[in-house]
Symmetry: C2
Subunit: 319 residues, 2 copies
């Protein structure tokens, strides 16, 4: 495998991508990561791109591993100022180091630089060992329909901790969005395409909803292999269950695979990794045209995560 493309959301996808990079170290593998941007938002006049930043910080080794998000050694002096004025969302704190990224990115965007170019420029500061691509240069923002009104995904996710029952997701701007430069080419050129164990509804889902990306996945000669974000009927991290429930999909590894669908049947998956505890689902998925394999999915340590990445590559190689 010389050319691998990963579809990724935030923290989970970041960890999987880091593991892939480290597992393939020295093998000359080109890794391109198509990152969800539908969590992005304008706040306090700044463009915030949570998933791009999570992947960047994690690959750069400057992420806060314990907290799970943001930069290590972070402080919140600027945020305290903004809160004193009531500027921005009081429940969404921006770290000082993180603000450097937001200000730099916003500055470039305001100058007319496309997001993909801004990402290339800002990530060039570190040797990430992977190329990050936003799914699109256009503004796409997921809004969540709830009984208390429709709100930006971040408000639902961060402020309400996804506890307000979601009635649906409106991925605004997706239908008119164009894949960022290189995204479709990356999928078509790849030796393998991997779906990180990211949220199927609000992370991988928006990527697939950008016209052209699903079509590229359908027509690429590369095998497409996903890693289940669900283990034994529970989410590995985050609140994907609340998202799945809203779209009528069970919180279950096989159910998520069925939601993606087999490429042979108009879907986007060839292979699917489930955890050992979900091994009983492998047979049923085979009847639906998805080659599943049961392996340990918990990325508890670097070694386990890298083994998972190797398992994903192995499954892709076998297809």
């Amino acid at each position: 495998m010389k050319d691998v493309v990963v579809l990724s959301g935030g923290v989970g996808g970041a960890r999987f991508t880091r593991a892939l990079r480290d597992a393939a170290a020295g093998q000359g593998m080109r890794i391109r990561v198509i990152v969800n941007t539908a969590d992005d938002m304008w706040m306090a006049g700044l463009r915030i791109c949570p998933d791009l930043d999570s992947v960047t910080y994690t690959l750069a080794g400057v992420n806060d591993e314990q907290r799970g998000w943001g930069r290590i050694g972070e402080t919140e002096r600027v945020s305290a100022e903004l809160h004193a004025w009531g500027i921005g969302w009081p429940w969404f704190t921006l770290g000082d180091l993180d603000l450097g990224m937001h200000i730099a990115r916003t500055s470039l965007l305001r100058d007319g630089v496309p997001l993909s170019e801004a990402v290339a420029r800002l990530t060039s500061r570190w040797d990430l060992g992977a190329e990050l691509m936003p799914m699109t240069d256009d503004e796409v923002e997921t809004h969540v329909v709830t009984g208390e009104g429709t709100m930006h995904f971040q408000e639902w996710w961060t402020r309400h901790r996804a506890k307000l029952p979601a009635l649906g997701f409106d991925i605004r701007g997706a239908a008119e969005a164009v894949p960022a430069p290189g995204v479709v080419e990356a999928v078509l050129e790849a030796d393998a395409v991997l779906f990180a164990p990211s949220n199927p509804v609000v992370s991988i889902g928006p990527i697939l909803s950008v016209p052209g990306i699903r079509e590229a996945l359908a027509s690429t000669s590369a095998p497409v292999v996903g890693v289940s974000p669900i283990i034994g009927g529970s989410v590995v991290r985050g609140m994907a269950d609340a998202c799945l429930t809203a779209v009528g999909t069970a919180t279950d590894a096989a159910a998520v695979a069925r939601r993606y669908g087999a490429r042979s049947d108009g879907g986007v998956l060839d292979g699917w990794l489930v955890d050992l505890v979900d091994a009983h689902e492998v047979g049923e998925l085979a009847t639906r045209g998805i080659t599943a394999r049961a392996v340990p999915l918990w990325m508890t340590e670097a070694e386990a995560a890298q083994r998972l990445a190797r398992d994903a590559l192995a499954l892709a190689g076998s297809l």
Copy 2:
């Protein structure tokens, strides 16, 4: 004196205004400060308003008195990030606390809030004891013509320390600018108008260049009294001498007063405070219609600064 208006630049004007407020404490005096905005700039996508911030921080008591600018207890974590990416001007460092102001202001401006309203909202966080008004809500930016090209005032002032000989100043946007709401009214209603000992060319000059403000000064019934920023042929602070030289005015208290001109002769001044060392200039200025008085001008301590403010009010009261 129940209603006093001050025309102010940055640090010197801020100190004078603070002294005026403190000298008049308990007297029910309304103080409105018309602040120069021609030093303002866009940097890293943020709108920076150095003079407004200097006056705000000084009146709020959160300024760094020793360093002479910015916030006390300042850090530069965000700036270090921006510098790592080459975003912004490397010779212009933004403090973290200061960035809170820039982000908050820019956020409001991007939302369409006029600068004057943003200033009112942001300064309401503290009990300043004075109302700050930008000279205009329009973008005015001083550019400096030098032998090495024309550059933004901040580049000439901060990067080159005003050492590149200036051939002239282009106060861009001034001719089309409109005084901010309340500015003309404040001048017309005032019992006294005071020029802080700010730079006559690039601080007070731009305020006077906004159409309508000079006319208001000409027609107000209030006496207009200035404080010389020059003592014994030297600048009190900053590099006003480089600015005066560029416009053909000697670095001399009386020369600056002549530059402003007597109101009785189409200028903007009735009275002028010079330092004791410049007492010999009082007579000559009288022949030109400007009532000068020699008093100690050095604002070395709070007490001296407040005495100067009282001297300015006393001179105004005598006119």
